[in-house]
């Protein structure tokens, strides 16, 4: 198969599928893809945690806590993620302490650009999650919570056994939308030179202009494919978690 692509590159000068036959480029693509997946997974986990903590804090008694969470979350929801990334990496990054690198000579900041990308994107996605979780919790009818309390469950038990399972099932579709959006937003980490798929693709076609069209095609297929797999997997999960008799 590799020979086929070598010949194709020779015959059609604009269609050099270089990453099909050359190992170095292949590794670049694979590492880029892996980085995108890694970013997505890490951000997913952290954003869910942030969402849970934020939703819990929004129900706090103190009005100051609520206001802080609200202001903090609204900022992340409504400014462009790219500017957030730049802000975190450049403006905040200069304050982080530096440690000596592996060779004992260079100094590097304690949080790398990948780290900042994860932090920034997690807060971005987490801000939406707070809303989603809060709405999910509110979707559980009062009566069900009261019925649970009337049976003798403590508030914590009601939360764990009744409210959270129901809220989770209810907000799963919205959470999935958020996840898909998150995967698409990881491309913006390009702005701070995070070596994800887009970044590596750009270096490939900068080095090999003949590989431009094939690499763009690859990018398209990769992202649309990632999103499609996610959506498929998520709707399988949604169907499995569905509450029988609820919704259409």
């Amino acid at each position: 198969m590799e020979d086929f692509f070598r010949e194709l590159a020779a015959d059609a000068p604009r269609w050099n599928f270089i990453w099909m036959y050359e190992e170095r480029q292949q590794n670049k693509i694979l590492s880029g893809l892996w980085m995108t997946i890694k970013l997505s997974v890490m951000c997913l986990i952290f954003s869910v945690l942030i969402g849970l903590v934020g939703a819990w804090m929004q129900g706090a008694k103190s009005a100051i806590t609520r206001a802080i969470v609200q202001g903090y979350i609204q900022f992340f929801r409504n400014t462009p993620p790219m500017v957030q990334l730049l802000f975190f990496y450049f403006a905040l990054g200069q304050f982080t302490p530096v440690v000596a690198g592996d060779d004992g000579w260079t100094v590097e900041p304690i949080i790398s650009n990948v780290g900042w990308a994860i932090i920034s994107l997690s807060f971005f996605a987490g801000a939406f999650n707070v809303e989603i979780f809060r709405a999910g919790i509110e979707a559980v009818p009062e009566s069900t919570v009261e019925a649970s309390e009337s049976l003798g469950f403590s508030r914590l038990q009601t939360y764990i056994y009744v409210v959270l399972p129901l809220a989770f099932r209810v907000c799963l579709p919205a959470l999935n939308n958020n996840l898909v959006n998150l995967v698409k937003t990881t491309t913006q980490a390009f702005a701070i030179a995070v070596p994800e798929l887009l970044y590596h693709s750009v270096t490939i076609w900068n080095d090999y202009p003949s590989a431009q069209y094939p690499t763009m095609l690859l990018l398209f297929v990769a992202y649309v494919g990632l999103v499609a797999i996610l959506v498929f997997g998520m709707s399988r999960w949604e169907r499995g978690m569905k509450i029988p008799g609820y919704g259409t």
């Binding site: 009566s143 009261e146 019925a147 049976l151 003798g152 509450i243």
Partner: protein
């Protein structure tokens, strides 16, 4: 303070309740003896639901006292759990936990709250489901059951905690007329077995046949009360007469 069967099992004395500035209960007193069936009727907004919710501690009161088996309900030191073991409640809708089957719904509280043995709880749960005539529906989810079936499972679930008093808050109001009957039959059987029941209801026919005592509330006070034999025919207060005239 020990309670003996010659004292009222539930006793309300001059109960007052306000929601903010709005006073909903303006000094309500009533006594319920063990084994009695009480029906509370009245126009909407008269405070009937609020009254019944105060009995198991879901709402707090601003004045007066409520005792269940001699224990003051609104005592700050009271372990709410102990109270809820004695008093079971069934709501108008959204009773059941939609993500658990009917059997799991009935089993959940004895397992998690009372921490009883699983096989014991399961046997009792199946017996209760059979008692409310839903044998074969143990593995159905609430969304797959009709309204009447859901309410019967809710009754079975409350019974699983072995309460001494059962409260019913307009349990048939959200049902189709065909399904109302099946629920009422279940409640009547409960009453005939000697369970103390306090019902808020619009079902006058049921009240007339099953109740030992009927209370009519309007605008936060008990206007009139009496056994059904005399209540429906010899109501003296004009408000009662107006209400009965409209619904009978």
């Amino acid at each position: 303070m020990t309670w003996t069967a010659d004292q009222p099992i539930v006793s309300l004395k001059e109960v007052r309740k306000s929601f903010g500035a709005l006073e909903v209960l303006k000094g309500v007193s009533l006594d319920v003896m063990k084994g009695e069936v009480i029906c509370i009727i009245g126009p909407s907004g008269s405070g009937k639901s609020t009254l019944i919710r105060c009995i198991n501690g879901l709402n707090d009161i601003q004045g007066g006292s409520i005792t269940v088996e001699g224990q003051e309900v609104h005592d700050a030191n009271l372990d709410k759990l102990e109270l809820r073991k004695k008093v079971g409640m069934v709501f108008q809708q959204y009773n059941l936990f939609p993500h658990k089957t009917a059997l799991e719904n009935v089993m959940m509280a004895p397992l998690k709250v009372l921490k009883q043995d699983k096989s014991e709880v399961e046997t009792r749960a199946r017996a209760l489901i059979k008692k409310v005539r839903l044998e074969g529906k143990e593995n159905s989810y609430p969304g797959e059951l009709s309204g009447g079936q859901q309410q019967r499972v809710a009754i079975a679930r409350s019974l699983a905690m072995n309460p001494d008093v059962m409260l019913f808050d307009e349990v048939t109001a959200a049902l189709d007329p065909e399904t109302v009957k099946e629920v009422l039959v279940t409640i009547r059987e409960l009453a005939e077995e000697g369970m103390t029941c306090i019902l808020v209801t619009h079902e006058m026919g049921f009240a007339r046949e099953v109740a030992d005592h009927i209370y009519f509330t309007d605008r936060g006070v008990i206007v009139e009360h009496g056994p059904p034999a005399t209540f429906f025919t010899e109501a003296s207060d004009p408000r009662t007469q107006e209400f009965l005239g409209q619904i009978l």
